[in-house]
C-alpha cells in the first residue's frame, strides 16, 4: 500500500516537473537545416541568456509543403493539437491560410515589436486586415549574381550589366554563349519565378484588383516574349525541376548569372572553386532602370495550439523582433539576411564577403530591399506562376504570345472561380 502511495506521489511530482518544464518550452516547425534552422537556433541561444529555463524544440520537416499540409489537415479537422506552437510559413501562402483557417492562428497583437523597423514589402504579406500575424525571419530581396570572371573574359564588367534593359542583356547573353558556352541565366521550369520578379521590378503584379492581369498587361507580354527569346538563343537555361536548377545549372557550373531571392546565395556558395568570382547587382528592366524585386521568404507564426502565447510573443519580439545578436548569428551560421532595418546596420553586415570578391553583399541586399515596390499579392500566386509557365511552353512549341497568355489568363480565372 505504502509503495502505491509513494509511486502516486512520485508520479504527481513528475507531472509537476513536466508542467514546469513545459511552461518555458516552445516547439517550432521549420525546414531548411542550412538556412532557417540555424537562424532559429541562434534566436533560442539569444533568448536563453535572459531566460535560462527557456527551451526551443525545433521540429525539422523536409520542406515548406509539410508545414502547409499539417495546417491543412489540422484546419480541416479542427484538431490543432498536432501543430507546433510556432511554424515557419511561406509568405506567398499565408494570406490564404489565414483566410481559410482563421481559428488555426493567433495574431501578434500586443507583442512588443517596432513594426516600422521592418521592410514594408515584407510585412505586406504577414499583415492581414491590418493585424500582424507573422514575424519576418529572412528577406526575399532578389539579386542578380554574375560570374565576373566570365563577364571579363567576354569583355564586360559588372557596371556593364547594371541598370541595363533586357534587350541589352540578351545581346550580352548571346556574346557570353558564343564565347564561353555558358548560359547567362537559368530558371526552374516547374517553378517559373522569373516572370514574377521581372514584373515586380517594373512595379507591376500579375494581379490587379483581385483579378488576373496577364494578357492585357503590356509589361507581362514583353517579359514573356523576352524570356522565350532568351531560351531560344541559349541565354536562359530552363531546367525541368528545382534540383535541375540548383544542382544542375548553378552548382553544375552551367551558368554565368543567377537571378533569384537572396536565399539562393548558399546554393551559389556550394561551389568552393568559384570563390571570389561572383558579384551581385540589381536586376535588368524593360526601361533600363535598376530593378528591385523580392521572391520567396517566410515568417514565423503562432498557431492555435500554442498554450503560452505570451511566451511565444515575447520570444519572437526579443529575437527576430530586432535583436542584432540573433540576426548576426543567423547571418553567420545560416546566411539568413534580415529585413529588419536596424539589425541590418550591424558591423557583421558591413563585412566584405570573400566568396563575392570582397563585396559587402549583405548590407547591399538590405539596401536593395528598401527599394522593392509593394505590388498586389494574391492567394493564387503559385497557380498563376504555373499557368504562366505553361504559356511559355506553349509559345516554345509554336503558339503566339498573345494566344498563350490569353489561355493562361482564362485558365487562371477558371481556377479562381471568376
Amino acid at each position: 500500500m505504502n509503495k502505491k502511495i509513494l509511486s502516486l506521489v512520485l508520479a504527481c511530482m513528475m507531472a509537476l516537473v513536466a508542467c514546469c518544464a513545459m511552461a518555458e518550452t516552445l516547439t517550432v516547425s521549420a525546414w531548411d537545416p542550412n538556412f532557417n534552422i540555424p537562424a532559429l537556433e541562434a534566436a533560442a541561444a539569444d533568448y536563453k541568456v535572459e531566460h535560462p529555463d527557456f527551451e526551443l524544440v525545433i521540429n525539422t520537416v523536409s520542406g515548406s509543403s509539410d508545414v502547409e499540409l499539417a495546417m491543412t489537415t489540422a484546419g480541416s479537422s479542427g484538431d490543432y493539437s498536432t501543430l507546433s506552437d510556432i511554424v515557419l510559413f511561406q509568405d506567398h501562402f499565408i494570406q490564404r491560410y489565414v483566410a481559410d483557417y482563421p481559428d488555426a492562428w493567433q495574431s501578434l497583437e500586443g507583442a512588443d515589436i517596432n513594426w516600422d523597423d521592418f521592410g514594408a514589402e515584407k510585412l505586406s504579406y504577414s499583415t492581414i486586415n491590418g493585424v500582424h500575424y507573422g514575424v519576418p525571419v529572412d528577406n526575399g530581396t532578389a539579386i542578380f549574381a554574375y560570374r565576373v570572371d566570365i563577364l571579363e573574359q567576354c569583355g564586360y564588367t559588372l557596371a556593364d550589366v547594371t541598370g541595363i534593359t533586357w534587350d541589352r542583356f540578351i545581346e550580352i547573353g548571346e556574346d557570353v554563349w558564343a564565347k564561353t558556352g555558358k548560359y547567362l541565366l537559368s530558371m526552374d521550369g516547374s517553378g517559373n519565378d522569373l516572370p514574377y520578379m521581372m514584373l515586380q521590378a517594373e512595379g507591376l503584379s500579375q494581379f490587379k484588383d483581385g483579378e488576373p492581369f496577364i494578357a492585357e498587361n503590356e509589361a507581362m507580354v514583353q517579359i514573356i516574349s523576352k524570356l522565350v527569346e532568351m531560351i531560344q538563343k541559349n541565354i536562359l537555361f530552363l531546367s525541368n525541376d528545382w534540383t535541375g536548377y540548383t544542382d544542375g545549372s548553378i552548382m553544375g557550373d552551367q551558368v554565368a548569372g543567377v537571378m533569384n531571392g537572396n536565399w539562393i546565395i548558399p546554393t551559389i556558395s556550394q561551389v568552393a572553386d568559384n570563390s571570389g568570382k561572383w558579384e551581385i547587382t540589381t536586376l535588368p528592366t524593360l526601361t533600363g532602370a535598376e530593378g528591385y524585386a523580392a521572391n520567396g521568404g517566410s515568417s514565423l507564426y503562432i498557431t492555435a495550439n500554442c498554450k503560452n502565447p505570451d511566451l511565444a510573443k515575447d520570444f519572437l519580439a526579443k529575437t527576430f523582433g530586432g535583436s542584432t545578436k540573433t540576426y548576426d548569428a543567423a547571418l553567420r551560421n545560416g546566411g539568413v539576411i534580415t529585413c529588419c532595418i536596424s539589425a541590418g546596420q550591424s558591423d557583421v553586415y558591413k563585412e566584405g564577403v570573400p566568396f563575392f570578391n570582397g563585396q559587402p553583399i549583405y548590407s547591399d541586399i538590405v539596401e536593395m530591399g528598401s527599394h522593392v515596390a509593394i505590388v498586389e499579392q494574391n492567394d493564387y500566386h503559385y497557380t498563376c506562376r504555373q499557368y504562366i509557365g505553361a504559356a511559355i511552353q506553349e509559345i516554345l512549341m509554336g503558339s503566339d504570345v498573345a494566344t498563350a497568355l490569353q489561355n493562361a489568363e482564362s485558365q487562371l480565372r477558371f481556377a479562381m472561380d471568376l
Binding site: 480541416s76 483557417y101 481559428d103 525541368n240 503559385y382 505553361a390 511559355i392 511552353q393 477558371f414
Partner: protein, 299 residues
C-alpha cells in the same frame, strides 16, 4: 445435448460466420465506405475545409468540370496512358508467361523472379530512378550519345511527347511482371493433354496459342484488364515523382490533378476535388462493366 434450446446447429454456424465477418465489415465500413459517403456529400459543397457551404447551385462543382481545360488535359493524358500502355503490357505479359511456362526452359525460376522483381520496388523509388535515368545528363542519354543514336543530350522529361513516353516505359517496366504472374498461374491450370491433342490434330504453335491458350485464359485476361484499367485511371506516383506533371502540366494525370486541388499548391479546394474523384469513380465503374461484358463468354 442442447441445454438451452435456443439455436440449432445451422443457426449457430451462421452466427459464428457473422461474428467473424463483423469486425472486418465494420472496419471496411468506417474506413472505406463512410469516407466515400462523406466525399460524396462534400462534392456538393464549396469553401475552405474549415467552413464548407453548400454550393450554389448544388451541382456547381460538377458543372464546373465541363469548363475545366486542365481536367480535360489530365483526362486525355490518363486515357492516352491507358490506351497505349495497357494493351502493350498485357500482350507482353502473356507472351512472357507463355515463354516461361515452357517445361524445357532452363533457369525458369530465375527468369520468372527477374521479370517479377520490378514489382517489388516501391512506386516512389522506381519513379525517381527512372527520372535520374532519363535526365538530360542521365544514363540513357550518355548511352544513346555513346553509341551514336543521339547527337547531343536530349531533354526527355522537358518535352511533352517524350515525357509521356518515359512514363509509359516506366509503367511497362513496373507492371508487366506483375501481370505475367497471373497469366503463369492461369497457364498452369490448362491441362497439358489439351495441347497434346492439338499437336496430334496438327495445329502449329500460333494456332494453339490463339485457339487454346487465349480462350482458356479469358477469365485471367478480363481480371488483369480490369485491374490495369483501374490502376491506370488512378495513376498518381509516376506523374508526381517522375515528371511532376510537367513540362507545364502536359503529363499530369487525373489523380495528380485531384491532389493538386486538395492538398497541393495550398489551394485546398476539397469540394471540387471530391467531385473530380467521383467522376474517376464512375469512369472506373463504367470501364470495368464494359470489360466484364466483353469478357463474358456466356451466350
Amino acid at each position: 445435448m442442447n441445454k438451452k434450446k435456443g439455436m440449432g446447429l445451422l443457426a449457430r454456424q451462421q452466427a459464428a460466420g457473422w461474428a467473424f465477418l463483423t469486425p472486418a465489415t465494420l472496419l471496411i465500413f468506417i474506413m472505406s465506405f463512410w469516407p466515400m459517403v462523406r466525399a460524396f456529400i462534400i462534392s456538393f459543397q464549396t469553401g475552405s475545409a474549415a467552413n464548407m457551404k453548400w454550393a450554389e447551385p448544388v451541382t456547381r462543382n460538377y458543372q464546373r468540370m465541363l469548363q475545366d481545360k486542365m481536367f480535360q488535359t489530365a483526362m486525355g493524358n490518363t486515357f492516352l496512358y491507358l490506351i497505349i500502355q495497357v494493351p502493350i503490357m498485357l500482350v507482353l505479359a502473356i507472351l512472357l508467361a507463355q515463354l516461361l511456362n515452357n517445361k524445357d526452359l532452363k533457369f525458369r525460376g530465375l527468369f520468372r523472379t527477374m521479370i517479377f522483381l520490378p514489382c517489388a520496388t516501391a512506386l516512389v523509388s522506381y519513379a525517381i530512378i527512372f527520372k535520374s535515368l532519363f535526365a538530360t545528363q542521365g544514363l540513357i542519354n550518355s548511352a544513346l550519345v555513346g553509341i551514336g543514336i543521339l547527337k547531343e543530350n536530349y531533354n526527355f522529361l522537358g518535352n511533352p511527347a517524350s515525357a509521356k513516353a518515359v512514363i509509359i516505359i516506366a509503367l511497362l517496366w513496373r507492371w508487366t511482371g506483375y501481370n505475367m504472374v497471373f497469366f503463369l498461374s492461369g497457364l498452369q491450370n490448362i491441362e497439358y493433354s489439351v495441347y497434346e491433342a492439338a499437336k496430334i490434330d496438327g495445329a502449329n504453335a500460333w494456332k494453339t496459342f490463339w485457339n487454346i491458350t487465349v480462350p482458356l485464359l479469358k477469365p485471367v485476361i478480363v481480371m488483369t484488364g480490369i485491374m490495369s484499367i483501374n490502376g491506370t485511371l488512378q495513376l498518381f506516383d509516376e506523374s508526381v515523382n517522375l515528371t511532376n506533371g510537367g513540362p507545364a502540366n502536359t503529363t499530369i494525370t487525373m489523380s495528380h490533378y485531384i491532389y493538386n486541388n486538395s492538398l497541393g499548391q495550398g489551394v485546398a479546394n476539397f469540394g471540387y476535388a471530391s467531385a473530380l474523384s467521383f467522376i474517376v469513380f464512375i469512369l472506373v465503374a463504367v470501364l470495368a462493366a464494359i470489360n466484364l461484358k466483353v469478357g463474358d463468354s456466356r451466350d
